[in-house]
């Protein structure tokens, strides 16, 4: 999931959780507020009653009676005043039931005893609790609406802000990480952002890319120079040995030894040449201006290599579409690529085994050639490394110098060919080459 999506998801859910909590606790909150308010207004009413009594005398209420009681029509409120016999002074607010005209109702009641002209009186002012609850529902609903509106608004702001905030990251990913083909040829410009972290990330990536480029350049230069510089000394040695071996006076033993030395030298020569070839491919020193039919190319390769097939008594089946044309390629390099792959298929095959070469047009611009053999296969742990230079698989003694497949890899990379390899030990290997048709 993308960072922005995650952020929005988190913000939304955390906000919703808070709102839910608030709405759930709203009745209690409203209860609390309302009862606080009622207590406050009861006290106000008490003060008013006491004030009136002090001003107009107790008879203003009692009017000669022993006690006084009054309530509103729906019995939402009542007030009662009566002489109190108890000597204890009471001054509380509590919730209790009261019977008013045959209706037993829950009231919030203020009880207050006071002394007036030597006599104790008890004042009770009550308010039904149902009148408290009547605020709850509309309050809750209103709060819900307002909150929802606020959430929607704040989410919109969050969305806009996170998007603006994270945009540089997306740009970094797009310009520095996605579809980067090594080596990094064009140097991407630094991203413009005021976020320090992104700036740091971007600068680090650019630095890293430059370092990788430099290291790669150095390695490439080294390979080219080393293999190039080796040519002259090898040439000298080879010519000296050739002159030696042509000497009539040399005894047979010496000739055999020199022939052995020449073999070793030849190996050195081939390694240098292969490295040089790889470095030339990597330096793009080959023109890609040929057009060729893979079917014809593979026929050429097989012409060159068929004697090896006969020697191992291998059966080869080639089923290729003669119409497919590859454009903008280098004939010699592709020849080398198929030569190396088919040569491997022969070399690592079992006597009387098979090699199958087939093709498939996957889509308008994607074309697949599959080379399958019934050879000794490649161990799963070796598979990721078979294209690495000088990596020798532990196959028999008949191993190469580890460069045949490296050359294949360089040529494939140079031509935008994707190679996929699958293999089962003792069963064989399959090389799939995905070409891009233009």
């Amino acid at each position: 999931m993308k960072l922005s999506a995650k952020l929005i998801l988190f913000i939304t859910s955390s906000k919703l959780a808070v709102v839910l909590l608030f709405v759930i606790s709203l009745p209690f909150l409203v209860n609390g507020i309302v009862s606080e308010y009622i207590s406050y207004s009861l006290r106000l009413q008490q003060d008013k009653v006491i004030r009136i009594i002090h001003k107009n005398g107790i008879n203003y209420y009692l009017q000669g009676d022993n006690n006084y009681g009054s309530y509103t029509m729906l019995k939402e409120e009542y007030i009662a005043l009566e002489p109190s016999t108890a000597n204890t002074r009471i001054d509380t607010i509590k919730t209790a039931k009261r019977l008013v005209e045959r209706d037993t109702l829950n009231y919030r009641i203020l009880m207050h005893t006071f002394n007036y002209e030597g006599k104790n009186y008890l004042l009770e002012i009550g308010k039904t609790t149902s009148s408290i609850n009547q605020y709850n529902k509309p309050l809750q609903r209103l709060a819900l609406y307002v909150l929802m509106g606020l959430i929607a608004l704040s989410l919109l702001f969050d969305l806009l802000f996170t998007r603006a905030l994270i945009r540089p990251l997306g740009k970094i990913i797009k310009s520095k990480l996605i579809d980067r083909k090594f080596p990094f040829k064009n140097h991407p410009a630094p991203i413009r952002t005021s976020t320090y972290d992104f700036k740091y990330l971007d600068e680090s990536l650019i630095l890293l890319m430059e370092q990788i480029n430099e290291a790669f350049e150095k390695e490439r230069e080294f390979t080219a120079n080393a293999s190039h510089e080796l040519m002259t000394p090898i040439s000298i040695l080879q010519n000296k040995m050739e002159n030696l071996i042509g000497d009539e006076q040399l005894n047979e033993e010496a000739v055999v030894k020199i022939a052995d030395m020449m073999k070793t030298l030849d190996r050195l020569k081939k390694i240098s040449r292969s490295l040089l070839l790889i470095s030339r491919i990597e330096n793009e020193q080959f023109a890609k201006s040929d057009s060729l039919k893979p079917a014809a190319l593979i026929r050429e390769v097989l012409d060159e290599i068929s004697h090896r097939l006969e020697e191992k008594n291998l059966d080869i089946s080639v089923q290729l579409n003669d119409q497919v044309l590859l454009k903008g390629v280098n004939h010699d390099l592709l020849f080398q690529l198929f030569y190396n792959l088919i040569n491997n298929a022969i070399k690592y095959n079992v006597p009387a085994g098979n090699i199958t070469i087939t093709d498939q047009e996957i889509s308008q611009n994607s074309y697949l050639i599959t080379i399958q053999d019934t050879g000794i296969g490649i161990a799963a742990e070796e598979l990721p490394f078979i294209f690495d230079r000088f990596r020798k698989a532990n196959l028999k003694e008949n191993v190469g110098y580890g460069l045949g497949l490296s050359i294949v890899k360089s040529i494939a990379a140079y031509h935008n060919i994707t190679i996929k390899v699958s293999s089962t030990l003792q069963k064989g290997s399959t090389f799939k080459l995905y070409f891009k048709l233009k």
């Binding site: 510089e229 002259t232 002159n243 020569k269 020697e311 010699d332």
Partner: protein, 224 residues
């Protein structure tokens, strides 16, 4: 035939001289461009073997001047630079052939022979090989006027051995000549044995092939 070797790597120049002398060429050596130009203006050569990386400049710069003095000579460029561009540049300037280092002296000699045949219009007749006759130009082999079918590679091997008669050629040398330098990094030299076996089988059907010798542990030789 007179040869000028322009090569700054002296050891290499001496080995080439040594080899070519045995093949009855007359050799002069030059180790830089100015020395080379001096020799070219003073003498006339049949072959000029030219190294490209010389201490006082690129050998290619020598080529046009040398051609003025010595237009009939055959020029072979020898270099460790195997780039296509270099090769094209050299051939464009009028070089006759191009041999990337490291090269085999046998290969050099074969190229020189090929150029000599082409350039100097040497009359090519049917060359004797035992009871057989070889036509190197048309790449054919005959027995009593009857043509014998050899595959391309088989003829290549036979003619290469023939051109270097009386010399042991290792499997490696043969293989390099036949398959060139581009093909593979680890060929198996058994293939040469297989080809020799086929050549013997095909020729033996007509006459003895005692001239084609196996030299144990080394390679093959044609004895004249």
């Amino acid at each position: 035939m007179k040869v000028l070797i322009v090569e700054d790597e002296k050891t290499l120049a001496y080995e080439m001289e040594d080899f070519l002398k045995k093949a009855f060429y007359i050799c002069d050596l030059a180790h830089n461009i100015s020395d080379g130009l001096e020799k070219i203006s003073a003498n006339s050569y049949d072959f000029i073997l030219l190294d490209l990386g010389l201490p006082d400049g690129d050998g290619l710069t020598l080529l046009p001047k040398a051609k003025k003095h010595n237009p009939d000579a055959a020029y072979i460029i020898l270099t460790a630079r195997g780039n296509l561009e270099d090769r094209i540049a050299g051939l464009d300037l009028g070089a006759d052939d191009y041999l990337p280092k490291p090269f085999s002296l046998l290969e050099l000699q074969s190229r020189m022979q090929a150029i000599a045949r082409r350039k100097f219009n040497l009359k090519e007749e049917l060359l004797p090989l035992g009871d057989f006759k070889l036509d190197l130009q048309k790449r054919l082999i005959f027995f009593n006027g009857q043509q014998i079918e050899l595959s391309r590679k088989e003829f290549d091997i036979l003619s290469y051995l023939f051109l270097h008669s009386n010399r042991v050629l290792t499997r490696m040398q043969l293989s390099e000549h036949i398959w060139g330098t581009f093909a593979d990094d680890d060929y198996d030299s058994n293939y040469i044995d297989a080809h020799i076996k086929n050549i013997r089988k095909k020729l033996n059907a007509w006459a003895a092939t005692n001239f084609l010798e196996t030299v144990r542990g080394v390679g093959y030789r044609i004895k004249k």
